[in-house]
Every structure is written in structure tokens, then in C-alpha cells.
Symmetry: C2
Subunit: 337 residues, 2 copies
């Protein structure tokens, strides 16, 4: 008889998570109670923020408890419904976790419209990562025509959308990625003006050459040496939406000094820089406009996207490790059923 | 015969500037050419930003060259005018430098209206420092009623105005200053809800006690340990207008590690903080509204102010050293004539 296969947080990782931290187990498929639905997971989203959920430190979300199912968005199909608005076969999206079956109530779910975009895209370009790009770039980056926008993790789920929206706004768009093929992809596929590989030894010089007029908007996804190189090139009045810092998610100790926070604050003042950390979920009032815009952009071909689809929930952990190491190509999703 | 007495930048200071860096010299009073006016300085403003002008590093203003008259705003009286719009006896304000006489053209001057505020106040509460407070707090701090606003250098020219505007907005206002009498003054005179002395050993605990609901806006004037203590108390979505960092202006080397820039960026992300460096001169479109608001606030007593008036240009350097050490009480001006 079929079981529910799920990953639970068995231990908190220090550094890279592995199978001692995320354990795949099999349990009975849960029974939906009154007003609940039983869902079968079709696609599970894997996103960098999930690494933070494994820690026991204060963040914008409550940390997972040991023994909890690993958190994650998924697109699922309704199997059984004790609720009039959803019926078997309906496709929904929700934070149902790393598992093959789940039980929840309708208020935790969003019905998806496969006529606007295919099911998996609701976890990517027209889902949370796409919305993250839209909010961060338009609300906080505020790019103006002719400005230079730099996007780190440029070929990732968020970066690819940031760059394409910035191109629509008439900006020079420069990506930063960690592989030649990723760089080629964002230039050829999404129309970025340039893309620089941060693993190249002369990366700072390459970035400088790609940004002859300096940098007006830096969409921060990674931190580390990319951030350092960008900071030497930012123009007066540059805006830096801070979306993620993947280079630091597995970091286990602080780097040695000197303490660069002091000159950093000096640079904020002298160059009149704007930094703003943000999380898309604080901006749900913009979600309807985003869905409408993105559906249109997908229809008319202004935005395209790349997905990296891994088959089978048993490969989710390895795929997630790869995500933290930049081994994915585009938005990483697990095809679960 | 009377001479022009002026301070020139003779050498670039490392650390605290002294008389080897700023030399007082006497030269002939200059003759105004066509369309120029000869001015006699009445009040010279001394402000922390001037320390930065002595360095040879890129900043928002071109650094002074060795031999230049030290830069500074002053209120002056027209002595001779070769220009129809200004006549002897008119009072004007301009960046005429640390000297007793100057020659300039009208486009570098603003006529002041002594019916709105006394001449020296045009260097303080209704001048550049007051405008700095207005722009930074209202444009970037965006305080909302019920929020907690913390102001460093609270009794200084900018801080005293920040606190009083924040009170008008219905905020809890907590000052930070470096002396008991400064703290008492901002509470008794300007209606701050509390003020904490950063020189007290238990300053971080005192600040925490004064901010029971955390900090929503921090108006940054100083850096150093005040900034560090504030950062442990900022709420989600806090806004930090970065106006000055006086604790670091004479700093000659970077503090040792660890490198706190990394966790700092993490905090920006997790708490969705907004940092924005700013200079009032980028926002001159707001100047008319400011002058109108401030004149009204002074008339109706909503805003009061404290000036620290030093007599004689020969005391300007000592007074400026005191300013960098927090020895002034309120807005520091030199009464020149």
C-alpha cells in the first residue's frame, strides 16, 4: 500500500545539510478531517531560503522544530476533499512541505490557473521567486532607463526574472553567475547585456569592464566576493535591495578582520546609498498586479524562463545540496508525481 | 588698517586637526570686481562635516586643496556691492569660509529674513542643520505615530531638531548624548521622552530600558558604540537615515576583526532594514517647505533651539576641536563681528 514519503528535520546542520539532518521516512498517508483536503504533491520547489529554516536562530520565520516536516512550497493535486470549493483533480499551490502527500485546509492554498502558466512555473517565474524579483527590483531597486543593474545568481530562479524586468525598464543589465554556461544562457536567452563569472580570477576587473558607467542598482542574492566587488563600483544614489546571501548560508564562523562595517557605513553616507532587506511575503498587496503582469509577459514572450527538474522526492536532498553549491541550472523543482 | 583674517588648510590632519593644519593668517581685504560683493562675516557656522573636507579622499564634495580657505557657511553683511540686488547692510548667507571678509557673486548667496529668525539661527535651526534634520527624518526615517525614534548627538544642531519633529509626529523620542546636562536639556527643553548618556558603563542596558518597544527609526549621527547598541534593538522594518558618523571622523585605522559586515548584511535581510545615506543639499526642492514649516514652528514655539556662541574668529579652531569631542552645547557658531 502506498505511503507518504517525507523529509523531516532530524538534526540542525552546521554547514552543509546532509542525510543526518534531513531524513527521508515513510509514514501512513494522512486522512483529511472535516473541511480538510488530501493533496498529492506534483512539484516541490527547492529554494535557498530553506537553509535558514533549518537553523534555530531568530529570523523572519519561526524556525522548524526537530521532527517537523521540512518546509517548502509545492504544487499539488487534490485527491480527497471534505470541502465544497475544491474537488479531486484541482491543482493548488501551498507551503505543504517536502512530502508526497499532505493534508491541509483551503485557506493555506492558492488555486493555480494552468492556462496562465504550466504547473511547475507557479513555483518559479509566476510564483514566489518571480514575485521576489518583481518586488525587490521595482519597489526597492527602482531602476530607471539608462541605469546599470547588476544581478547576482543571475541564472537562478530570482535572478533571471530580475534581469528580464530590468531590460524592460531600459537598463543595462549585467549578470553575475558561477559558470560559463550560466553566463551564456542569461545573455543569449534573456538578453542580459553581459554576464561575468565570479569564479574567474580577474572577476573584479571583468565586472568593472562590464559596468563602464558604474552600478546604479545591485540586486543582492549572494554576498561574499560578488558583494565586495560590486561595492567598489556603486554610483552615488545606488540602491541595493537585499534579497539573499547564499554565499554565507553555510558559513560556520565569522571571517577575520579588519572590521569592514565601519568603512561600509562611511560609504553609505558619502555615496548616499540605499540598502533595503526585503521578503516578498511582506508585499502581498502587489501579488495580483504581479500575476497579471507576468502572465502577460509570458504570453507575449517578454519573459522566458529555465527550469531544472529533478525526478523523484528521494533526490530532493541531493538537489538542494547542489542548489547551495550553484549546481542547478535555472529554477530547481522536484517532480514528485 | 583692518585685514582679512582667515584660516587656510596648511596640512591634512591625521586624527584631530590642530594649528599646524588650520593656520590663521592675515591678508589684505579683497576688492570686489564687477557684479561682486564684499561681505563682512557676522556668524560662522562650525559643523562636524568640515572634518571630512580636510581629507584628500573622494567624498560628496571635492576635497579642499592645501592653501585654500577653510570651507564653511556664514551669515554676513554686505559692505560694498557692485550689483543692483544687494546693497550695503543686507544680510546674506553663503559658503564663504572661515574668514572675516569675503568676495563673491550673488548666485552663491541667499538673502536671509531676520523677521523669521535671528541671523545666527540661519546657520542652525532654520539653516543647513535644521534642514538636514527635516530631510533625513521625514524623507527617509518616515516616523509614524507611536513608533520609537532614537537620535544620536541629540543635543547637537541636527539632533535637537530631529527629536522635536519626531515628537510632533507622535513618536516616542529617545536621545543619546555624551553628558548628563545634555541629556537633561533635551528632555526638559525639547520634550524628548528620555535621553541616555553613551559614556555610562551600562549604556546599552539604559538604552534598552528607554526603548521598551524596540527602535523603529534611528537617526545616525555618530557611529561607534551608539550604533552598535542601537543595532541590537532595531525592530523589523526599521529605517536608519545615515547623516553623520562623528565617532569615526578622526579615526586613523580600522578596528580589528572579526569582520562584522557579514552578520550586518544578514540583519538587514532578516529584519528588512532600510539604510539610507543622505546629504541635505541633494534635496533643495524641499527647502521652501522647510523654511515655511520651521518659521511657523519657531513662531508658535513648537520648536526651540540652543546655540553655543564662541566670540572671535581666532577661537574657531579650538571650538571646532571641542565640537569633534562633544564639548559644545547646542549649535556651535562663531560670532565674528
Amino acid at each position: 500500500m502506498e505511503k507518504n514519503r517525507r523529509y523531516i528535520l532530524a538534526d540542525r546542520p552546521v554547514g552543509m545539510p546532509d542525510e543526518t539532518h534531513l531524513k527521508l521516512e515513510e509514514v501512513e498517508i494522512p486522512e483529511p478531517g472535516p473541511n480538510e483536503v488530501l493533496l498529492k504533491t506534483r512539484y516541490l520547489s527547492l529554494d535557498p531560503y530553506m537553509r535558514g529554516r533549518m537553523n534555530d536562530t531568530a529570523s523572519y520565520a519561526t524556525p522548524l522544530q526537530l521532527g517537523d516536516v521540512m518546509t517548502g512550497e509545492a504544487v499539488s493535486e487534490v485527491v480527497t476533499s471534505n470541502q465544497p470549493d475544491l474537488k479531486p483533480g484541482d491543482l493548488v499551490m501551498g507551503r505543504t512541505g517536502w512530502q508526497t502527500y499532505s493534508v491541509t485546509t483551503p485557506e493555506n492554498l492558492t488555486r493555480i490557473d494552468p492556462s496562465l502558466a504550466p504547473p511547475s512555473a507557479w513555483l518559479g517565474v509566476i510564483g514566489m521567486p518571480g514575485f521576489t524579483a518583481y518586488v525587490g527590483l521595482l519597489e526597492f531597486g527602482k531602476p530607471k532607463a539608462g541605469e546599470t543593474v547588476v544581478v547576482s545568481a543571475a541564472s537562478g530562479a530570482v535572478g533571471q526574472v530580475v534581469g528580464q524586468i530590468a531590460k524592460m525598464k531600459g537598463c543595462r543589465v549585467v549578470g553575475v553567475a558561477g559558470a560559463e554556461d550560466k553566463c551564456r544562457h542569461v545573455v543569449d536567452q534573456y538578453g542580459f547585456d553581459a554576464c561575468v563569472n565570479y569564479k574567474d580570477e580577474d572577476f573584479p576587473e571583468q565586472l568593472k569592464a562590464a559596468c563602464p558607467d558604474g552600478i546604479d542598482v545591485y540586486f543582492e542574492n549572494v554576498g561574499g566576493k560578488v558583494f565586495d566587488a560590486v561595492m567598489t563600483l556603486v554610483n552615488n544614489f545606488a540602491r541595493i535591495p537585499v534579497c539573499g546571501r547564499i554565499a554565507h548560508y553555510n558559513q560556520t564562523s565569522l571571517p577575520e578582520g579588519p572590521d569592514r562595517l565601519i568603512p561600509f557605513m562611511g560609504q553609505i553616507l558619502i555615496k548616499r546609498l540605499m540598502f533595503r532587506g526585503f521578503i516578498q511575503s511582506d508585499h502581498s498587496e502587489l501579488l495580483p498586479a504581479f500575476r497579471q503582469d507576468m502572465a502577460q509577459w509570458l504570453r507575449d514572450g517578454t519573459v522566458s524562463y529555465q527550469e531544472d527538474v529533478v525526478e523523484g522526492i528521494e533526490n530532493a536532498l541531493t538537489a538542494f545540496q547542489g542548489l547551495l553549491q550553484g549546481r542547478n541550472r535555472g529554477k530547481l523543482v522536484v517532480k514528485v508525481s
